[in-house]
Structures are given as structure tokens and as C-alpha cells.
Symmetry: C2
Subunit: 185 residues, 2 copies
């Protein structure tokens, strides 16, 4: 098997904006091209690396730095590492960017109105009623990336369209082989 | 480059018994055979994954589980992952063993008498004077592995001899290519 270079595909965005959905959709695309892939999802990482931490800025930053540390270890060993935590603060995201060689930030933009309308888990309704403290976008800040590598918008495009744009970016940057080249192997 | 299988080389033993020394000695041996290697050293991991945790049994176990989680992610992607934390409790070490496919436990045995005699960092003297709480082997328990894959003893053999025995075990289990095969590539 050809050895691929690792990189970090760092999703950031509000709860329900499509981070985990896109992470799970892109995984088989990457594997089909011979990449090794790990997904560090927000909930799983909190369970395994950050149990006991809360949702203050300090605790959130600590959690994100831990994800960044693990992403650094994996990606420098050739693993495509996908993170899908809200990661609301710009400064700590940029710290993570500086820790790894190839950092691709994907901002899953979606308006609060649209997220509240969908509200798959019923969380926005609760947050708007003041029942969830530190809920990002409602009662806690979200600092959007100023210059993400990819910006997707689930209120304007389908998940499939977002996926294809992310894949196109990775191909253009030669972080993954083009689909045709992959198919020929 | 040939793709090697990952495994976890889990050192356990008292402070000063040779875990980190052997971890650093074996790294170039493994790289020379084409392995990817990461060392998760006790202090570095505490800084990056477990800041805020103390040295109670619960906190130690949490720290070790986090090391096990990261070792699982790395090793299943073909990385030889070397851990060098004291990891004093048997049960949580065995939990880590069950989490990964190839787990090689190396017990760096050394008597307290010998460690106290050497006492490179002056820690044993302090611990014996009661100045360090929760010091493994003095004021905190150390549960030796009942059936480690490799047992080394720095009071009876040189570090080079210990190293060669670990390498021989890994070769015998075909976790790494033999030195001759590696040299021929």
C-alpha cells in the first residue's frame, strides 16, 4: 500500500451544523483512496480524554488542546485525523493549527435560526429557554474562523455538496490522490 | 516503505527503574527497522492530557486510561507506541491491554534498596523522609505485573542487555523484522 501523508481535517461549528455528519461521510471517501483515518468526535474525546472537564472557556480550551495533541501524534504518522468538536474559540484552534503540519479547517456555518428550526436533539429549544448553561451560540460565544480552508453551509447546500467541496479542496492541495488515480490502483 | 503492524510496548516500573531510558534506547532500533514510533512518556502525557490530575489511585488510573486510549489509536494505525509511565495498578494496565491488539508489557524491576542507593533525582530520599506524598513504592502501592511479556532488572543487567532482550522478544513474536532482514533492505 502506498504511504500517504497525514493531515488534520478540523471541523468547527455550532452544534447541529453538520460536523459529525460530514466527518462520517468523508471517512469512506478517504479510505477508498488508501488513507488511514481516525475520527476524534467531540463526545468520544470528552469521555476518553476529558472526563471531569466542564464547559467554561478554560475547560473547553483544555479539551481542544488535548484533541490537538492527539491529532498531532496521529497525523505526523500518516493518519488523516478528523476532529469534530465545536471548538468555539479561535485562539486555541490556531494553537492546534500551529501544532500540526497540514491543518485544514472546515467551518460548518449555519444560522442560529436554521439550527433552531431543525433542532434535531431539542437542544436549541432548551438553551433558548435558559435550561442549558454555556450553550455555544446561545449562552456561550462562538468565534467563527476568520480564514478557514473550507467554508460549508448546510442551510444553502446539501451534505453531499459540502462533502464534494471538501474532497475537491483536499485533492487540489494534493493531500489525497484524485479519485481517478485512486480507482486505477 | 513496507507497512509495519503497530503494537504497544508498555513499560511499567518504579521511578528510576529504567522505563524512559530503555524507551529512548529502543526508539532508534525500531526506526532502523522501518517502524514508526511514538513515545508517550509519563511527564509529557501528564502535561498534555492530564493537567490538573493528582496522584490518588483514581487520578492515576484516569491518566493511565488516557495513555491507553491514545496508544490504541496510534498502534491500530501501524505506529509502535511506547509508554513509559509508572502505571502502578495492575487492573488499569490490564484494561489497556484489552484495548489494543498487540500489547507487550515490560516490567522494569529494581529493588527499592538499589533505587534508593542510586536516587538520581533525590526523590527516594525525600520520599523516605515523608516529604513526598503518594510516592510509588514508598508511600503509595506498586502492583507488579503477574505475567509480563518481558521482565528486565537494572540491578542485575546493563541497559544494553535489557534492550537486547526486549528486541529479541519482539523479533521472536515477529512484531519487528529481524536485524539482518532490516539491514538487507
Amino acid at each position: 500500500m502506498t504511504e500517504h501523508q497525514g493531515f488534520v481535517l478540523w471541523f468547527t461549528g455550532l452544534s447541529g451544523s453538520g460536523k459529525s455528519t460530514l466527518a462520517r461521510m468523508i471517512e469512506p471517501e478517504l479510505r477508498a483512496r488508501g488513507c488511514k483515518v481516525e475520527i476524534l468526535d467531540g463526545d468520544e474525546v470528552r469521555e476518553n480524554l476529558s472526563k471531569g472537564l466542564g464547559f467554561s472557556k478554560e475547560d473547553r480550551d483544555t479539551n481542544i488542546r488535548r484533541i490537538g495533541y492527539v491529532a498531532k501524534l496521529l497525523s505526523r504518522n500518516g493518519v488523516v485525523t478528523i476532529t469534530a468538536a465545536i471548538s468555539p474559540y479561535r485562539e486555541v484552534r490556531d494553537q492546534c493549527r500551529r501544532m500540526v503540519r497540514n491543518f485544514v479547517e472546515v467551518y460548518t456555518h449555519c444560522t442560529i435560526e436554521e439550527l433552531t428550526r431543525r433542532d434535531v436533539k431539542g437542544l436549541y429549544e432548551k438553551a433558548l429557554r435558559g435550561e442549558i448553561k454555556n450553550f455555544t451560540g446561545i449562552s456561550d460565544p462562538y468565534e467563527a474562523p476568520s480564514n478557514p480552508e473550507v467554508l460549508v453551509d448546510s442551510s444553502k447546500e446539501t451534505a453531499e455538496q459540502s462533502l464534494q467541496r471538501i474532497v475537491a479542496f483536499l485533492e487540489a492541495k494534493q493531500l489525497i490522490p484524485a479519485a481517478t488515480a485512486a480507482a486505477q490502483r
